[in-house]
């Protein structure tokens, strides 16, 4: 009964989404207040029914209703309750429902917190979001209904993929989706502005907070995914340049460009058509990511099982959205742009460079991701592009980006005089250079070109982004305090610096060693002693495991004990590596059990990962900065 309620609720949501899209758009066109006023109530109604549907699916999981095919395939009686909930979005059908729910939630939020936005604009925004909802609801109902029944019902479920039975992965998809889906708001604002033919600085003011919030969540989602891959896939890498990772990373890069471009549009009324194009691109890349993940078209560790119909549906949807948006852009955008001058040395220039470099970076990632598809279509054989390519290609735009970032933060709008800027940045530049060379020598005892570049860039950004907060803190009475949005910017950039610290140090000094190890044996890796004290059997709620107890010592001094496990889950029989990690702020010690390779001998992977936490801490600091900037009260004021 409950699954049927969920199914009906989804159909009702589709009907409401249709109202939410068509009526306000027609209303805005005819300037008919009655039709436009449908927008908000239809939105809340759609959100309500999608939420009902989502709750119904969750109940089916909690009650282990194995007469529902999706539940039977992805849950099991003995599954811990947390994972019964997270299993809802563990595969295609449920994660699509989550996507729809979040889209409805974003739309409802836009409808709720937009009282100062002119009625025609908001009606169009909600209408465009409604069109997207219609597309996704149709997708769910026609190809991927999570409420399909299984007759006869299964006695027990096939269990959730053990890799997904992890708290990190329980929240990674929702965070990531909040970000992905959030870019649809910027997209809708862009389309609405083009339909209405009116784009002023207030438009950017209303669009920007939504975009920054979406960006912050996407940042956290990606970071969490990277962290999960690090400890759960068992092999200690934090980024693999896998197509699906790239699929989430491209909208992030584009979104980063977009929030910077929006800043220019808001403050100076410039870059209007460019901002529109970025808003369209960021969301299109989100859709492309969805297509890549769900069509199974690209070889990836993340790929969902292949289904051509779904791939076809998404591709059609993607084509309609992208082509439609670009046609509208070609037709309407030229009329929107305004020409205001700015000097070559000004914040506008730096933000323009930021945008160009980020778009280049996105293009390179896109190229590397799609190259295998393109080459195969041209009958060039099946190829793959290795991570080394991405590492090289990505650095080309990134190095100038981070160097310019340290300067750009301190430039004034319109025109910046050279003298004061040089004076302000001379000391930080020298300090950063010294730190870049000395610190790695001091702590790790060697340098290389990449290491110096990395350490310099990190120190440069960290110092540069602390200048403004520091001055505000030391300010004399009466001087203006730093605004929330400037503070948010400084913190975000600081996070970027911390991230670079982590990436640089861990790539230069990380040690990874595959060895054979017997009980009682001590191995030395990265100057530390790892002793395998014992191997023992452990029982979990739905798995049995062999656990290694590994004691780590530094010159005989006890540092910690890690307990890597090799788990076998009872239902799926899969083996799973659960790494043992001893984390401290400046290094991770990581041990993973491979397999038994002889009598009492196991293969192990031992890793020493200096500063790796800074990668994820940096990303969260970036996101935090974004959220602080959004909380700025001045944002809510409208300039006329």
């Amino acid at each position: 009964m409950i699954p049927e309620i969920g199914h009906f609720a989804l159909i009702l949501a589709l009907a409401l989404a249709a109202c939410q899209s068509v009526l306000p758009l027609v209303g805005a066109h005819r300037n008919d207040a009655a039709l436009m006023s449908v927008a908000r109530s239809a939105t809340f109604g759609q959100f309500f029914f999608v939420a009902v549907s989502f709750v119904c699916l969750t109940i089916a999981f909690l009650e282990s209703d194995f007469s529902v095919l999706y539940v039977a395939n992805h849950s099991q009686l003995a599954l811990p309750t947390l994972y019964k909930v997270s299993a809802v979005w563990s595969a295609h059908e449920g994660s699509l429902l989550l996507w729809i729910l979040l889209l409805a939630a974003w739309t409802a939020a836009v409808a709720k917190f937009s009282s100062d936005v002119p009625e025609p604009l908001i009606a169009r925004v909600i209408g465009v979001l409604g069109l997207l909802s219609v597309g996704f609801l149709l997708f769910a109902l026609l190809t991927s209904n999570p409420f399909d029944r299984l007759v006869p019902a299964a006695m027990d479920g096939a269990d959730l993929n053990p890799l997904l039975q992890d708290p990190g992965l329980a929240i990674h998809p929702p965070l990531l989706y909040v970000g992905y889906v959030g870019f649809s708001v910027a997209f809708a604002f862009a389309i609405a502005a083009m339909i209405g033919g009116d784009l002023d600085q207030n438009w950017a003011r209303w669009t920007r907070p939504w975009t920054v919030i979406a960006w912050a969540f996407l940042t956290m989602g990606i970071a969490l995914g990277s962290w999960w891959a690090y400890y759960e896939l068992g092999w200690g890498g934090w980024w693999f340049w896998d197509p699906v990772e790239n699929a989430s990373f491209m909208p992030w890069l584009m979104g980063t460009a977009l929030i910077h471009s929006l800043a220019v549009t808001e403050r100076r009324g410039l870059f209007k058509s460019w901002t529109l194009l970025l808003a369209i691109s960021a969301f299109s890349l989100s859709l492309l990511g969805t297509f890549l993940v769900r069509s199974g078209i690209i070889v990836s560790v993340h790929a969902f099982a292949t289904d051509p119909t779904r791939g076809f549906f998404i591709l059609t949807f993607l084509a309609i959205v992208v082509v439609g948006a670009l046609v509208l852009y070609a037709w309407r955008a030229p009329a929107l742009d305004s020409t205001v001058g700015f000097s070559p040395l000004s914040r506008e220039t730096f933000l323009l460079l930021n945008n160009v470099l980020l778009v280049v970076a996105t293009t390179l990632v896109l190229l590397g991701t799609l190259a295998p598809l393109i080459v195969e279509m041209l009958n060039g054989g099946k190829i793959s592009i290795g991570p080394p390519w991405f590492q090289v290609a990505f650095l080309i735009p990134m190095v100038p980006l981070v160097l310019l970032l340290g300067i750009g933060m301190h430039t004034a709008w319109r025109k910046q005089n050279e003298g004061p800027l040089m004076k302000l940045l001379r000391l930080p530049a020298i300090a950063a250079l010294l730190i870049g060379v000395i610190l790695p020598l001091l702590f790790y005892g060697r340098v290389s070109l990449m290491l110096v570049i990395g350490c310099f860039a990190a120190a440069w950004i960290v110092i540069s982004s602390l200048i403004q907060p520091y001055r505000s803190w030391r300010r004399k009475d009466g001087a203006a305090a730093i605004s929330r949005s400037a503070l948010g910017m400084s913190i975000s950039h600081l996070g970027m610096g911390l991230f670079i610290v982590g990436v640089t140090i861990v790539s230069a000094f990380g040690v990874e060693s595959d060895r054979a190890m017997r009980v009682g044996q001590t191995l030395e890796v990265a100057g530390l002693e790892f002793e395998l004290r014992e191997l023992r059997q452990v029982q979990g709620p739905n798995y049995a495991a062999i656990e290694g107890v590994v004691e780590v010592r530094d010159d005989g001094d006890y540092i910690g004990t890690v307990r890597p496990q090799k788990r076998q889950y009872r239902v799926q029989k899969n083996l799973m590596t659960e790494a043992g990690i001893h984390p401290t702020w400046n290094k991770d010690l990581f041990v993973a059990l491979g397999e038994q390779v002889g009598d009492g001998v196991w293969s192990v992977r031992i890793q020493y990962k200096p500063m790796i936490r800074f990668i994820w801490i940096g990303a969260f600091v970036m996101a935090l900065g974004g959220l602080i900037a959004v909380s700025d009260r001045r944002r809510r004021r409208v300039t006329s």
Binding site: G381, G386, I396, D514, L575, G594, V601, V604
Partner: protein
């Protein structure tokens, strides 16, 4: 310099920068491109000899041999028509198993042994890399004509 000259200089520098970056990117691209080669083609001698490539197929049942107490092992991979010996040193992924799909990165050594530096088995038991599925599919279709006696024998070099 006049502003106009300045602008020309800036544009010139930008063009040079982009050209250098594009050149570097393309070279790295060429170096890091890795082909997927069917096992049958490898056995027939049709593979890039000077660079790394990927092979994929099923791990032949009973073919995994490990040197006691070390990380060296060897196994055979089949695309259901031809088989190839693969050697590898290191920790194996969890889903590496006899009869299961596998992808190996590496290059050909002497005596027809593929020396793998990376072994991939996928997350999910039901998921098979599309390229492996396709590589297997080709030969499985060949076989359906006469399942008992293979019409196509494995052709070696």
């Amino acid at each position: 310099m006049k502003p106009r000259q300045q602008r020309m200089l800036a544009v010139g520098l930008a063009v040079v920068g982009v050209a250098v970056a594009a050149g570097l990117t393309l070279r790295a691209f060429e170096e890091n491109m890795m082909f997927f080669v069917d096992v049958s083609d490898v056995v027939a001698g049709d593979y890039p000899s000077e660079r790394n490539f990927r092979i994929g197929g099923l791990v032949v049942a009973g073919s995994i041999e490990r040197e006691e107490g070390s990380l060296d092992l060897s196994f055979r991979v089949t695309d259901t028509r031809c088989e190839i010996d693969v050697s590898y040193t290191g920790v194996l992924p969890d889903l590496f198993r006899e009869g299961q799909g596998v992808v190996a990165h590496g290059r050909m050594g002497n005596e027809g042994v593929f020396i793998a530096d990376k072994i991939l088995a996928k997350h999910d038991e039901n998921y098979m890399a599309p390229e492996v599925a396709e590589s297997l599919g080709k030969h499985v279709q060949d076989q359906t004509a006469s399942l008992s006696s293979r019409t196509e024998e494995c052709e070696t070099e």
